[in-house]
Subunit: 387 residues, 2 copies
């Protein structure tokens, strides 16, 4: 087993829900402080007769770079000022204050809402006019991102969330909203990964897992769960159900740092699978300002590798011809600084040379549980992964 | 409370997992029998020197009708013969036998796979040719539907599933794959509704709920779950996460018939929301052959109704202007035989007359928990729903 052995953690003697709640209120106090500071600064400038302004780091491609040392995609320091007494900026200034105020209410009431619900919370028609504070969610979403960057708080800390996705089972007991949940007793259903996996909301109670396996596809997760892979191999089994949602990414990062478990990722052998892995690992350009708290630079790429076709003597039925778009995407991948290492160049080139892609599901061309009792165990045993 | 009171059911003294397993093997034996009968008939015809053939009910619009008495959309009796010695049909005949054989293997090994995985299980290149048994999943999916109709077995009984969606919490204990799962202790995560919710796979152990509330949107479910609505109102809280997947529909139907609980559905006030409700209630044209086991004719439409705007004094911020497409879709809805009743005509017309649609999320324009402590309780109290 390639996984590092970790002693199971015992639960603390204090009740986890109480400690959860106090951790949450600490963090909430911190976030509230940031929101209030923002408001106080604007007010101070206004009462001095000045021009209230916010400095927000620019979220454009030119302000994003790959930090070679930390191995994550980061947002640079260039900022943009947003002034109240400026026709082009006044609307956004007002909107930022509205969203900040909405978040303050949420924290005060200890509630969380979706970013669409925040749009409705802050949308209204300005008295004596037909002007709406927001016309569309496409206006409020960037304001939320501005606020996150502006006061350096994750949207989850602002009690906001986007749509969730992902399921988990395995040898871990968590506490969420006061419920102690044994992820080893979830049947075939699995526990839905919440949108907000911040400390204080979600706590790890007892861990008996030695590693984490994340698979891209729901049906692959089902196959492994039905075969009780996580029981036999003492692990935690997650599916991101495609590109990982923020909740799943935060959960993964917290597991990596707090439980100190190695993480293996199993995606389809195609450029999209590699992209899913890459976002887990170093973050994305869109969310560069949050890589620090979302990226997990040491996740391991278990497969599917382009070399698995020969290694596991796959039949031609496993092949799906590459499209022109796949090849273009693969060439783009090769140019990314985080894939410049020879081993990655070799891996990506091998897919192009194969001329075909392969889905993890294609392992069923061998037999139903080949993935569970042969493919993954062999990859782990041989330490056959990239990082 | 509009919900009918139901005494909590006590768990049977026998261990649920054992009884689950025996129920499953009974049902599996039945399905195996159907597959074997199909194979034996084909073999008998072939050994007699005849032309092996399958009669399969036609799944076309012209063979689908609304059964006024049962209140479900049904498949008619017109059939189509599929012959082995017929150039146009031989390939499909062979494919049907391959899928049937794959399902026999699945049942034998007591495993379940996705319809994509079944594609891979049965895809191979015919020896001595470059001919594939299946070129694409778009070839195998209709064959699976043929088999379902041909031998009268749900795909779940054939151990196959499509993608799953949906989460559940509430006052119910279930047993799934031998794990006893208390849906009242799921934190904010909820239990992921499995793809296969057939008896034998999933059993109800103890129910303390008085009704079921299904909401279309994940974020609405989150709002109600965070507010512990299901605890205060003794119910089961489900989200279908959009159009309900087969697992969620089967779970709902089993809850309706076995737990005898009334079901309330809360969707957006737009034609798409009404369509989601309508599929839950009388089935869909595409899956007409499965309405009997999937449709729940007595689900109640709790909202959002077009009349809720005035009833709850909603602000203009809750409105979203109807598009031309919305209006066309609403007019189509009015023409459906299952919506011909005056109360439905009035409801659909009211949306058209309003000129706007409303999302359930729009209730947050009032206040964060308006939906939990005012909107739903009032609707239930006033028995303000359509059926």
């Amino acid at each position: 087993m390639a996984a590092k052995k970790t002693a199971p953690k015992k639960s603390a003697p204090s009740t986890p829900s109480a400690s959860s709640a106090s951790k949450r209120s600490d963090r909430d106090a911190l976030t509230l402080g940031k929101i209030e500071k923002l408001a106080r600064q604007a007010l101070a400038q206004a009462t001095k007769g000045g021009n209230p302004a916010l400095d927000i780091r620019t979220r454009t491609l030119s302000n994003v770079s790959f930090n070679e040392k930390k191995r994550i995609i980061e947002l640079g320091d260039r900022t943009q000022s947003r002034e109240f007494f400026n026709v082009a900026m006044a609307r956004k200034f007002m909107q930022t204050m509205l969203v900040a105020s909405g978040c303050k209410t949420l924290i005060g009431e200890d509630k969380t809402v979706s970013i669409r619900q925040m749009f409705y919370m802050t949308k209204h028609t300005l008295p004596g006019s037909s002007e709406n504070t927001f016309d569309d969610q496409s206006e409020s979403d960037p304001i939320i991102e501005d606020l996150e960057v502006g006061i350096d708080a994750l949207r989850e800390e602002l009690h906001l969330f986007a749509n969730r996705r992902g399921l988990v089972v395995g040898k871990l007991v968590v506490n969420d909203a006061g419920d102690e949940i044994d992820l080893a007793r979830m049947g075939r259903g699995g526990w839905g990964i919440p949108s907000i996996c911040e400390p204080g909301h979600l706590a790890f109670v007892r861990n008996a897992a030695e590693f984490i396996l994340l698979v891209e596809k729901q049906a692959v997760w089902h196959r492994l769960n039905e075969d009780r892979f996580w029981e036999k191999h003492n692990c935690i089994l997650l599916t991101s159900e495609g590109q990982a949602a923020r909740g799943a990414r935060r959960l993964l990062q917290r597991m990596a740092t707090e439980l100190k478990l190695p993480i293996y990722v199993l995606v389809d052998n195609d450029p999209w699978g590699l992209y899913i892995y890459s976002v887990l690992k170093q973050g994305s350009i869109n969310l560069a300002y949050e890589s620090m708290r979302m990226a997990v630079p040491n996740v391991r790429f278990l497969g599917m590798s382009a070399f698995d076709y020969k290694k596991f003597a796959m039949p031609p039925a496993a092949e799906i011809k590459l499209t022109k778009e796949d090849i273009t995407r693969a060439e783009q991948m090769k140019a990314y600084p985080w894939f410049k290492d020879a081993k990655w160049q070799r891996e990506i080139q091998a897919t192009i040379d194969n001329g075909f892609k392969m889905e993890v599901d294609a392992l069923l061309t061998k037999r139903i549980s080949f993935i569970t009792d042969e493919y993954i165990p062999k990859k782990l045993r041989d330490r056959d992964y990239l990082q």
